[in-house]
Amino acid sequence: MSALVTKKEVELALVDRFGDIFERHERRAVEILPTGVAEIDDLLLGLPRGAITEIHGPASSGRISLMLSALATATAHEEICAVIDCDDTFDIASAAEAGVDFQRTLWVRCGHSLERAFKAVDLILHGGGFGFIALNLGNVPAQAVRRVISSWWFRFRRAIEDTPTALIVVTPVTAVRSCAALVLELKSERAVWPSTLSLVSENSNSSFTTDNRLSHGHLSLVPKVPLRNDHPAPAHAHFLATMQIVVNRERPVGLRSGTVKFLPRHSPACDIR
């Protein structure tokens, strides 16, 4: 208490010389970019702009699904987006199925080089004008991600401040630490395997095979051969994911902490012709 009083007295004594530098500036309202996942948007409204959002979790926990959904939503909002792909793992088919507009998406393949990936993000951030930037480190070993020096994250945080850009970082383990305004930790729960009736098509010879071993869930028809413009990814299993949301208290973005379950679903829009 005495320390607070002393601080107040010092500020009052210096106010004539330094003006209002001790006054706290009013925090601006946080702008939000929806993710397109209803479960997350209901709770968080979306990803904060002008800040870093970290999405981390093990393999098959839904990190890329969440990233693709946010990317597709951003391009649908006519934002210019960039995907910095450290290990060249960006799948075009699933991105197209998610609804990503590639003409608004800049894809940078960094050839398995962390350094190039970070430099590319830095160039794009300082170039300005992008609404959504995704740094995909999902395939990088956890040890390498942990070894990333924190000055990179501070540099990104500084560059992105006061801009309408949302930067998300997909990692296997938490790495951004205090520089992230929002941390989403994803954990895979279990895979859901619907019984599958697959269409095996080889050139013009078509046949059907039935796999009834896994008979819980609904029956779905999955065309194996991509249709000319749709090119659905041959995803035959679904999975549940649990997400732990951690809000950075030092840089509050007006979001709530909590846990949410979401179910990335395969698009049911499959027709066989």
Binding site: S60, S65, E79, G99, Q103, A233, A237, S267
Partner: protein, 477 residues
């Protein structure tokens, strides 16, 4: 005073081509503009220029104010420069434009006609050689008038000039009057000026060869500065820059920089050129530099309050150039799926914001191309991490079902464990008519590694039917 330059060689060439249209970019025009900015191109072989006030440049050598001597010097200088340029020309200088034209066309060599002496000089010229277009008479009517002149016994300009004005007007009308004024050298008209040819080319020959980028950047900066100033003067921009570097080995190093949007900011162009040179440096020292800009209309963009943020085209180009320098041109761009069933078939296109407006029109024409148009109704799909290249795997099977997998990437990363659930196979094949035929059975597998704390890993595994090998294509994530 007016000087007319008539090129006989160009006239012969024009007769062969049967082309009377005045062409821009003629060597005569270039020659004329070296003497005066006031130039009229009468035809492809005839140009007229106003040489008034050039006494100080081409006056008489002894400093006298003799107009005839001054005009003679100008005419001879024009003739000399034409000879140097390889043109066979006639040059005439007169106070009247049309007199100068007739004299240049009909009198060989250099002709100087002092003011007032026009009837004496052109009076002896054949009336058949009179240029009816100067009196705005059509060819058909001109032929009729020439027949009339022949019936009257007129043979020279002087014969027509001496006829009574009232009689000519009564018989030939205003056309006859205009022709008589031409013959008398008393026509009164102004030059129909043309703009100097605009060439957006800047070049420089160097005294010493340059082998480093930094000194070259100063040269490029100077040339681009002038080039952009010229573009700005004509309210133009450029979308293509051609850089030609002459090397010490007598060879040329040429680069073409194509821009997605018209620009005329010399700093932006300089950076882009330097990035390009650094990416593909010339193999030898440079002794001459030339930059050519393709002039186009500048871009017009309408901004609005509700238009989402987009990178500025100039900044975006610089960012893309830096990214290309960092990771290579083939690794930067916007992907495009190819219309094939081959897995992971795509093409990397240049990232260009100009397509943004076309997207909506395309989706309206082809509703299938926009798979999930409604943002609110969008459904999440399973993401996939594609391994490029696919990991070679060893798969143990039991009764045709895979039960164990062990795979390792070339660089780092591995996947091994018990297969707790599998779905498949889904067979696909294609391109059997090509050398790179593909055929494979795909499986979706849930793998649990007992040594890892991670749960199930959902992966897509395929068996290449051409090589009978298993590969892990990627992981659902």
């Amino acid at each position: 005073m007016f000087a007319c330059i008539y090129s006989r060689s160009l006239a012969e060439w024009r007769q062969k081509r049967a082309d009377n249209s005045a062409e821009t970019g003629s060597p005569l025009v270039d020659l004329a503009f070296t003497f005066s900015p006031l130039v009229e191109q009468k035809s492809a072989d005839t140009v007229v220029l106003d040489v008034s006030g050039q006494d100080l440049l081409f006056g008489s050598p002894n400093g006298s104010s003799d107009q005839v001597a001054s005009d003679t010097n100008i005419a001879q200088e024009i003739f000399r420069q034409s000879t140097v340029a390889g043109l066979k020309v006639n040059v005439a200088v007169a106070a009247n434009v049309d007199v100068a034209i007739h004299a240049a066309r009909l009198i060989e060599g250099v002709t100087v006609i002092p003011a007032g002496d026009e009837p004496l000089v052109i009076g002896a010229l054949s009336i058949k050689q009179i240029d009816h277009s100067l009196a705005a008479i059509e060819e058909k009517r001109a032929a009729e008038i020439q027949e009339t002149f022949a019936l009257w016994g007129l043979r020279t300009f002087g014969d027509l000039a001496r006829l009574p004005l009232a009689g000519v007007a009564e018989r030939l009308g205003q056309e006859g009057v205009r022709l008589q004024k031409l013959a008398q050298g008393k026509s009164d008209r102004r030059l129909n000026l043309i703009c100097p040819p605009v060439g957006f080319v800047q070049s420089l020959e160097l005294e010493h060869a340059i082998s480093e980028v930094e000194p070259l950047s100063f040269i490029l900066s100077r040339l681009l500065n002038q080039l952009c100033a010229n573009l700005n003067e004509y309210a133009l921009a450029t979308n293509e820059l051609q850089l030609a570097l002459q090397l010490q080995t007598k060879s040329m190093h040429e680069r073409t920089l194509t821009l997605p949007v018209p620009m005329r900011n010399h700093r932006t162009l300089l950076r882009l050129l330097l990035f390009d040179i650094e990416r593909e440096p010339p193999p030898a020292p440079i002794i001459a530099v030339a930059i050519t800009a393709k002039p186009v209309e500048p871009r017009a963009s309408q901004t609005g309050l509700f238009i989402p943020l987009a990178p500025e085209p100039e900044k975006l180009e610089i960012t893309l150039a830096r990214l290309v320098k960092l990771v290579g041109a083939e690794n930067v761009g916007s992907p495009e799926m190819l219309d094939t069933h081959r897995p992971d078939a795509f093409r990397m296109n240049r990232f260009n914001l100009n397509h943004r407006g076309k997207r909506k029109q395309q989706s309206e024409r082809n509703p299938r191309s926009n798979q999930q148009p409604a943002i609110g109704k969008r459904q999440s799909v399973m993401g996939f991490r594609m391994f490029r290249p696919a990991w070679l795997a060893e798969v143990k099977t039991s009764s045709g079902q895979p039960i164990y997998i062990a795979a390792r990437a070339k660089s780092f990363g591995k996947l091994s464990g018990r297969i707790v659930r599998a779905s498949g196979p889904w067979r696909g094949s294609g391109d059997w008519w090509r050398a790179d035929v593909w055929a494979r059975d795909e499986w979706d597998m849930a793998v649990i590694d007992p040594k890892s704390s991670e749960g199930e890993v959902l992966c897509r595994v395929y068996r290449d039917l051409t090589t009978e090998q298993w590969f892990v294509e990627g992981v659902y994530d």
